[in-house]
Structures are given as structure tokens and as C-alpha cells.
């Protein structure tokens, strides 16, 4: 370990930072009593730090090398870019991971790589890192491995024995756009390794039913990522694709990455002043609705509304398009209906169905429980004199009153004149 490693780490972290995934969730590994280090806590995982861009740092997210033989338009590491290149040796990276882990900097390793020589050669080196960590250093923390598109089934199967989670990024939600931006890639090169992982997990499930001691295979499932805003797809296409992914067994998370204009010289890419951060946020909200609120993709966006609204969240947007669903009686409605009230989350919905066993709830109780009454009051009834329901007043009225600028926003408005009294 020397200064040279530090410089390589800098370059390779820079190269890896556009990958969004960083979660360390989904598996429980108990610590070993006698040798090795590490455990994973399961549940939500642990974020050890938050970078200046507000994103969590849970895993050591780094590339083995940022040398790449592909030339994908949206990627910072494309062959034709003139960026500093570096390669970490397997032993360097293993040692770095162990030392960071022992200092409680990280939960584990998230390793990806540019493609050198051929997919199998690259994949083999990734597997070697995971293998050394697990077998030589008895590392029991989290390992997330990228599966290199085009890698052979044998290598994916070997990787799965050491990794907690594996992922293949689809990057562009439409095959034509993908081929246009990344001529060397197609959907097959993405879906094939996904299929390997899925089959591995399902076979492993079968094996573990017969032999409880059979080693686990990718216990935290797989994830994928889509770049938003680099190609002309609508949110409808993106969400339909995610919902198809979620119906696939073993797919745990789809990440959305607002396109950061890295290769501005490429004419195939749109010119953006800023990454589409709000759109990205709305997509995550829609994603949450599909995963935890029993919404389907077609409820959130349809052909009449192919894109998510930017000024209100998708749940409120759905509610305004369906005034006939409201008001919901919080004292009688089932959990699923309560979940659909804007201003009520999973946590407060659970509290409501528990608390109403004891007595009828009124708006004061709801506020205490944590319901955002400012939004919820248009959509509920709780047996008292209440604010007008969205079905009585018009959805437009509710929209206007909820999106009206708050005092602080008005103050920050650059169009608002301020009088300078001098000093």
C-alpha cells in the first residue's frame, strides 16, 4: 500500500461514482466467532457516510479498472474518452477493502470493471477478488459484484457463490436507443447474465431445500440500473420496464440514474444544463408506489399521461385523477385503501389500522400519528366536521392549494421585487 494506490483509488472511484446502487441490504450473515471479520445486518443495511452530493456511502464503490474496450456514448469510461486510466491489482483491492472495513468505513465492496480483452477475462478477475476476500481473508461482509455483459455462465455461477448481490445494468430502457448509444451492446447481452443469476438462485433454493448446508447463491438477489434522460423514452416506458423487472423473481431493486452530461461532445446525447434530478426523484417515488403501496405501473402512468408530473408527487397525481376513490374513511377502510391517501405512508397506515382498534380516530389523533394533514385532509373522512373532500371541490382546486408557493419559496423568488432602502 503506497501513495500510488491512493492515486489509483481516486481515479477508480471517480470512474465508478455514476453507478447509483450502494445498498448493503438483503442478507443476514452472522459474524464468525474465531476467525475473519464481518457480518451483515440484513434489513436496511448500514450507510456509513454521506458524500457532498448527499448520496450514501455504504460500500466501497470502485472499479477494478477503468480501461474499457466498449464505446458507449453515455459512459465516462468509454474507449474514446481521454481520461486518466488505472488498474488495481487483486491483492491491492482486497487489502484495501479489509482495512477500510476494519475501521468501520464501509459495509463491504461494490466492484465493477471496464471490459478488458474479453468479458470472461474481466469477469474472472472480479471473481478472484471476491474469492480471495471470502476464502483467504474470511471476509464475511457485503459483496456486490457487477456481472459483465457477455460473461460465461460458469463464471457467473462461481461469482454467485461469493457475492451477496449481483447486478447487470440495462442502462437504456429501450433496445433501439441502447443500440444507438452503445452499438456494441444489445438487450440480449443484459438479459442473458440476468437469466444466469436468476437460474442460479432458483436452483440454489431447490438445493437448499434438500441440503440445508448447501452454500447460498447471491442471497440478496440482483439489481439493475437505468439512465434517465439520455434517451427519449417516456416515464411510462421506464416504469413498465421496471414493473416487468420486479415481476421477475430475484430482482430486488431497479435504480434510476439522472443522466449527468459527461460526454457533452457526443451529438447523440441531449444537451442538458443539469441532470434531471426532479424527474429522477419522481421515478423513485413511483418505484416506491409499485413496491410498497400496491400500485401498478399502469395506474401511475398511462398513455394519456405518459410522463410523471414534476410539480406534484405520483401518489397525489393519481389521487387527483381519481377523485371518485375518495374520501376514504380512516376508521373503516382497509389497509390498502388507507395506503392510497396522499399524506399517509406505510408507517402511519400501519399505526392507523392498529390504533383504531382502541377508539375512533379523529384528525388530532391522525396528526399525532404522523399523517401529513395538509395533504391528507382533502382525501379522508374521520367522523368529524372536515375540510372539503376532493370529490366535492374540484381536483384543480386541491392541486392549486397544495402547489401554492409557501412563504419561504416566495421570498426566494428572484422575480419578486425587493426594495433596497440603502444603508
Amino acid at each position: 500500500m503506497t501513495e500510488a494506490t491512493l492515486n489509483k483509488l481516486k481515479i477508480l472511484a471517480e470512474a465508478a461514482k455514476y453507478d447509483v446502487s450502494c445498498s448493503s441490504s438483503g442478507t443476514v450473515r452472522r459474524g464468525r466467532k474465531d476467525d475473519g471479520v464481518g457480518n451483515t445486518v440484513g434489513g436496511v443495511g448500514i450507510c456509513h457516510s454521506f458524500a457532498d452530493d448527499g448520496r450514501c456511502i455504504s460500500l466501497l464503490k470502485v472499479m477494478l479498472t477503468n480501461v474499457c474496450m466498449y464505446d458507449c456514448a453515455y459512459c465516462i469510461n468509454r474507449r474514446s474518452n481521454d481520461v486518466p486510466r488505472a488498474t488495481l491489482s487483486v491483492s491491492e483491492l482486497v487489502e484495501l477493502t479489509m482495512e477500510f472495513y476494519r475501521r468501520n468505513y464501509i459495509e463491504g465492496l461494490f466492484l465493477s470493471s471496464g471490459v478488458v480483452r474479453n468479458p470472461d477475462y474481466t469477469m474472472e478477475r472480479l471473481v478472484k477478488v471476491a474469492q480471495d476476500l471470502r476464502t483467504v481473508h474470511r471476509f464475511n461482509g457485503y459483496i456486490h459484484l457487477k456481472s459483465i455483459p457477455g460473461a460465461s455462465r460458469e463464471l457467473v455461477n462461481r461469482a454467485g457463490l461469493y457475492a451477496d448481490r449481483m447486478s447487470v445494468n440495462i442502462e437504456i430502457p429501450n433496445e433501439c436507443s441502447l443500440k444507438y448509444l452503445a452499438p456494441e451492446k444489445d438487450f440480449k447481452s443484459v438479459y442473458e447474465p440476468m437469466g444466469f443469476i436468476r437460474q442460479g438462485v432458483l436452483e440454489n433454493k431447490e438445493d437448499r431445500r434438500k441440503f440445508r448446508s448447501a452454500p447460498r447463491f447471491v442471497p440478496a438477489g440482483q439489481s439493475t440500473q437505468m439512465i434517465v434522460g439520455a434517451s427519449p423514452e417516456h416515464d411510462r416506458d421506464i416504469l413498465r420496464l421496471s414493473s416487468a423487472f420486479y415481476s421477475m423473481p430475484t430482482m430486488r431493486r431497479v435504480y434510476y440514474s439522472g443522466y449527468v452530461p459527461v460526454n457533452t461532445y457526443d451529438a447523440r446525447l441531449p444537451v442538458l444544463k443539469q441532470p434531471p434530478l426532479i424527474r429522477e426523484n419522481r421515478l423513485y417515488q413511483a418505484d416506491w408506489l409499485m413496491r410498497f403501496y400496491n400500485f401498478t405501473a399502469d395506474e401511475i402512468v398511462d398513455d394519456a399521461h405518459p410522463d410523471l408530473e414534476l410539480d406534484i408527487d405520483p401518489k397525489l397525481s393519481w389521487a387527483l385523477r381519481h377523485p371518485e376513490f375518495f374520501p376514504v374513511d380512516v376508521n373503516r377502510a382497509d389497509y390498502e385503501s388507507i395506503l392510497r391517501i396522499p399524506g399517509v405512508g406505510v408507517k402511519s397506515a400501519t399505526l392507523i389500522v392498529n390504533a383504531r382498534r382502541f377508539r375512533r380516530l379523529n384528525s388530532e389523533h391522525l396528526r399525532k400519528i404522523g399523517v401529513v394533514m395538509k395533504r391528507a385532509r382533502y382525501f379522508i373522512t374521520c367522523g368529524e366536521l372536515e375540510a372539503p373532500c376532493v370529490a366535492d371541490v374540484s381536483p384543480d382546486y386541491v392541486r392549486r392549494s397544495l402547489t401554492a408557493a409557501t412563504g419561504k419559496e416566495r421570498d426566494n423568488n428572484p422575480l419578486q421585487l425587493t426594495i433596497d432602502f440603502g444603508s
Binding site: 500500500m1 503506497t2 501513495e3 494506490t5 491512493l6 483509488l9 481516486k10 481515479i11 472511484a13 471517480e14 465508478a16 461514482k17 455514476y18 452472522r30 459474524g31 464468525r32 474465531d34 476467525d35 471479520v37 464481518g38 457480518n39 445486518v41 448500514i46 450507510c47 456509513h48 457516510s49 454521506f50 458524500a51 457532498d52 452530493d53 448527499g54 448520496r55 450514501c56 456511502i57 466501497l60 470502485v62 484495501l96 482495512e99 477500510f100 476494519r102 475501521r103 468501520n104 468505513y105 439522472g258 449527468v260 452530461p261 443539469q274 441532470p275 434530478l277 399505526l351 392498529n354 390504533a355 383504531r356 382498534r357 382502541f358 377508539r359 380516530l361 389523533h365 399525532k368 400519528i369
Partner: protein
């Protein structure tokens, strides 16, 4: 007529106060800790003498009324050590004992809501320790970390570190409360160290005490922390939200 109970500030003391209230058939309006100033309109002050026999009986009684999870949650919430919280927990325990069914999910009751929130806050603080604790390796191979958590939650977090780093020897220290835990590779010991030690007062090991590679790894971690942020997406507000500034003092990546 205002009745005040005074107890010694321990959980046993609080449970004994519950016992006393039932045996004296008089329930206090306020509970104060020893040494605190009595409320202005205090007419009668009963001093509670902590008694494990009595507190155990209350605890067993409570165990019959609440689920195991809610029972441990009440004890956890007491770690917040906020004097204002004592009376809330006292009322919660009394209500739990009086009620024929478990009250733990009655979230329209203000005390139940308050206890639930406090449990969440205390557990969150323990989680913060698991997140933001940073070890520094000393020359003798011991890993050292120091924090100043808001609540007294070191005991909730130490098990996690023992499970995770069972083959290391380490110290985790709560500077605010002046105690910590030392794990020697087999067992955990509670330790106190003098405030005057330079690494206790600053939270940082002096370079002469550090392991040979420690400095380099700290530099690497700082370099990594800087490199991983995307310049186009700077969001200091979100950073402060998820990693409050009060933790920055002892974070390797935010210092040096």
C-alpha cells in the same frame, strides 16, 4: 394537591416508584430525579428507594401485559435519560398494568405515541453509532473509536461490533458520559479513562500512537470520500440531514 415522587434516576428506581404508587394508592403528578429542583407547587414529596425485589415484581407484571418486543422497548426508551420523559414512561407503565389488553398499539393515546417515538429516537441514535463510528488503529493493534451520542446507547451498539469484529481488539468510548467498552478478543469490559488523555479529549490518536499504515488509510478514505461525490449533483442539505453536523467532529473523512 400536587404529589411528587423522587427517584434515583435508575430504571429500577422508576419501576420501584410504580410499585410504591400502587401500594400507597396515590399516583404522582410529577417525577423528579435526585438532586433536581422540586416543582413550584409541590405539596408532598415521596422519596422512592430503589429496591430490586419491588422492581422485579413490576417488571414481571409488565411482562404479562406487554409483548416481549414492547417490554424491551420500554427499557430501551429509558436510555434517553431525559428527566421530562420519566413521567411519560411512568404513566405508560401504569396504563399497561391497568389495561386488560396490551396497549402497545394504541397510537391515539399521547403517552403511547410519546413512548413509541422515544424508542424510535433511541434506536436511531444507536444506529448512528453503528454508522458513524470510526476506528483508528493504534500501534499495539487495538482499534480505538470515540463518540458523543445524544442518548446513552453505547450498550445497544456494542454487540454489533463484537459480532462484526470478533477477531480484533477494540475500544469504543462515550466521551459525553465518560465510559466505554473494551473488547479483548474474547470478552467485553466496561472501562473509564481519564478525560485528560490527549486521545480522549480530542478523539484522535496522536501520530506517535498510530499504527504505521493508519495515516495512509485515513488519507485514502478521505480521498475516496472526495472522489465519490458527483460535482453536478451537490446537495449539502441532504448530507447534513442524513449525517448531522454533530457527528462530523470525529469523522475521519470530515477532518484532516
Amino acid at each position: 394537591m400536587m404529589l411528587v415522587y423522587m427517584f434515583d434516576g435508575t430504571f429500577e428506581g422508576l419501576l420501584t416508584a410504580v410499585f410504591d404508587a400502587y401500594s400507597r394508592k396515590s399516583f404522582p403528578e410529577a417525577i423528579v430525579r435526585e438532586g433536581a429542583v422540586l416543582p413550584m407547587f409541590c405539596d408532598e414529596c415521596h422519596e422512592v428507594i430503589a429496591d430490586t425485589g419491588k422492581s422485579d415484581r413490576v417488571w414481571r407484571g409488565l411482562g404479562r401485559k406487554l409483548s416481549a418486543a414492547a417490554l424491551s422497548a420500554t427499557a430501551t426508551s429509558f436510555l434517553c435519560e431525559l428527566p421530562d420523559y420519566d413521567i411519560t414512561l411512568f404513566r405508560y407503565i401504569c396504563r399497561a398494568l391497568n389495561s386488560p389488553v396490551s396497549i402497545e398499539t394504541d397510537f391515539s393515546d399521547p403517552d403511547v405515541v410519546e413512548v413509541t417515538k422515544m424508542v424510535r429516537r433511541v434506536r436511531y441514535e444507536a444506529m448512528r453509532i453503528r454508522q458513524f463510528l470510526r476506528f483508528q488503529k493504534a500501534a499495539d493493534g487495538t482499534y480505538f473509536a470515540l463518540m458523543e451520542p445524544l442518548y446513552n446507547v453505547l450498550s445497544l451498539a456494542v454487540g454489533h461490533f463484537v459480532d462484526r469484529f470478533s477477531s480484533m481488539t477494540f475500544v469504543i468510548y462515550d466521551k459525553r458520559r465518560g465510559y466505554g467498552y473494551y473488547y479483548d478478543g474474547r470478552e467485553v469490559h466496561c472501562v473509564t479513562m481519564p478525560e485528560t488523555l490527549p486521545h480522549i479529549s480530542s478523539g484522535r490518536l496522536d501520530e506517535s500512537m498510530m499504527d504505521a499504515d493508519e495515516k495512509l488509510y485515513q488519507d485514502m478514505w478521505r480521498a475516496y470520500f472526495k472522489a465519490i461525490a458527483i460535482k453536478e449533483r451537490m446537495n449539502p442539505r441532504k448530507q447534513r440531514q442524513d449525517m448531522p453536523v454533530r457527528f462530523w467532529k470525529y469523522l475521519t473523512e470530515k477532518n484532516g
